[in-house]
Symmetry: C2
């Protein structure tokens, strides 16, 4: 059963055996608040790795209870991220969450072949939106990591998003490879070629566990009427679970329009590592941070 909204996703996380999150460089107010909320809601048990004195000071200042948190004192950011990775590898934690550490340093620790969480798979960004303009959760990828992905990278991006969607109960995710137009325009829009190829690779069993169609316009992907008017015969049209953007810029525009110009709720993780990676940005609101932790827990494969 797939989740129609975030409330159902959160209820599912609560009903499972509790998983743990490891927070790298946890001495940051906003993330401590989101982690506190997640633990109060009984979604998780948090292990905070960071400067213990700072963590205690920030929590005191902002009236955040430390009750039930496990705190590991490690003031060095890189070392904190490394310790979190080790905990995930040893199944002591199931999701890794970014705190005060720089994104570049955090990702470097995760990608480290010896001590990190690299699996050989591409890492990609998977966002999930709940909006009252769509009948189910909508996955968007990749709005933040892969800038101008080539065909192979697009395969990896799809596989990561499909794997997250399946963890959220979407048995056979419908993937729309969206472009500016719904027809192949080989000369001027090479992304439409990629979309056509990815569809065919899906038909030939080279990408499995999902149903891929493209090129599709974003309107055809999410709106049945729009697909009908354009006479598009597609099992994905009007009912897409996953929108794959042709590049970061367009994915990012979709992501930010939904978040800043529409009344949507969002969650996002980085997929493709040995465990879900929560990488919220400073500009994300409180709710997005909390929902991203919940999404990480919901999409974690470790029991």
């Amino acid at each position: 059963m797939s989740f129609k909204n975030f409330s159902e996703m959160i209820a599912a996380v609560k009903s499972q055996p509790q998983k743990r999150i490891a927070v790298a460089a946890a001495d940051e107010h906003e993330i401590l608040q989101a982690v506190r909320n997640a633990q109060d809601e009984k979604l998780t048990q948090a292990i905070l790795v960071g400067n213990k004195a700072n963590i205690e000071k920030i929590c005191a200042e902002h009236h955040i209870s430390l009750n039930g948190f496990e705190i590991i004192n490690e003031p060095d950011h890189i070392e904190a991220a490394r310790k979190c990775c080790t905990m995930v590898k040893q199944k002591e934690a199931h999701v890794i969450v970014k705190g005060l550490i720089d994104t570049a340093k955090y990702m470097k620790a995760i990608l480290d072949k010896q001590t990190g969480l690299a699996t050989g798979n591409l890492l990609s960004h998977v966002a999930v939106f709940e909006t009252d303009c769509y009948h189910k959760l909508l996955f968007v990828t990749d709005a933040a990591i892969n800038i101008k992905p080539n065909l192979d990278q697009k395969v990896g991006i799809i596989q990561n998003a499909v794997s997250v969607a399946r963890m959220l109960g979407v048995e056979m995710p419908k993937v729309a490879c969206c472009c500016g137009v719904e027809k192949v325009n080989a000369a001027a829009m090479p992304e439409t070629i990629d979309a056509a190829i990815l569809s065919k690779m899906n038909g030939r069993g080279q990408i499995t566990g999902c149903m891929i169609d493209g090129p599709l316009g974003l309107d055809n992907a999410v709106n049945t009427q729009s697909a009908q008017i354009k006479k598009i015969d597609s099992p994905v049209a009007g009912d897409a679970d996953i929108i794959m953007a042709p590049d970061l810029a367009s994915g990012n525009f979709l992501y930010k329009t939904l978040l800043f110009l529409a009344k949507s709720r969002a969650a996002a993780i980085v997929a493709g590592a040995a465990a879900p990676v929560v990488l919220t940005s400073r500009a994300d609101n409180h709710e997005t941070k909390y929902l991203s932790i919940a999404l990480g827990l919901a999409s974690s494969q470790n029991g």
Copy 2:
């Protein structure tokens, strides 16, 4: 005084001396309905060029009154478009509207150097959105015509959008050259270089009548808090009138997200020709078609 919403724009059109629209190949139900509404609202006086028998039949079938329409019988689509262009050139009409004619043929007639409306300026698509998530009308360009514009074309795209915004009362439009990130990333995201150059060209007086800043993330452009968190010091941030997308795909994603995944109202025209060109798509809803005609009238320079 700039218009905060479409109601104000429509009221302004009504208060001006009435302008006329010329509809090319008008024998199409949806456009006849939109034109009827515009005429009933006293926004315009319509001249329908097309197959007269078909126009009368369609109007009878759909109970659309022909009252007050001027009908010119011209069954040939290309010839109908040409006649509309001639009327615009002779100031008998002020806005040209696409009917049943193929978009390619319609645009070819408009771009014809002898009989069309070409001015030597770039043609570009300008969309305008009203959403309760933003404090004023938001202009988006180019979501439909220029696929991967170079720097010179981006100058033209900005100038066209600025000129439409000024006709709608925005005295000094704030233009955000949006990218996936708000920092210059010369190697991986050449669009951020263009954005930086366009800002500087504006500072040097090479692009006038507006205030340009970029690169900006879409969030920084429309959300003050997001700009503050990222420590972006910009007169455009959080208050953009015009979002210039780096390419058609990202502009199209922004356009379609606002239209299909958010509760926005939209209007759009093609700017850069001798008169505003209304080019609605089959997938546009009735309201968008009506508002696009109103936008064409509001942005027409002919008295």
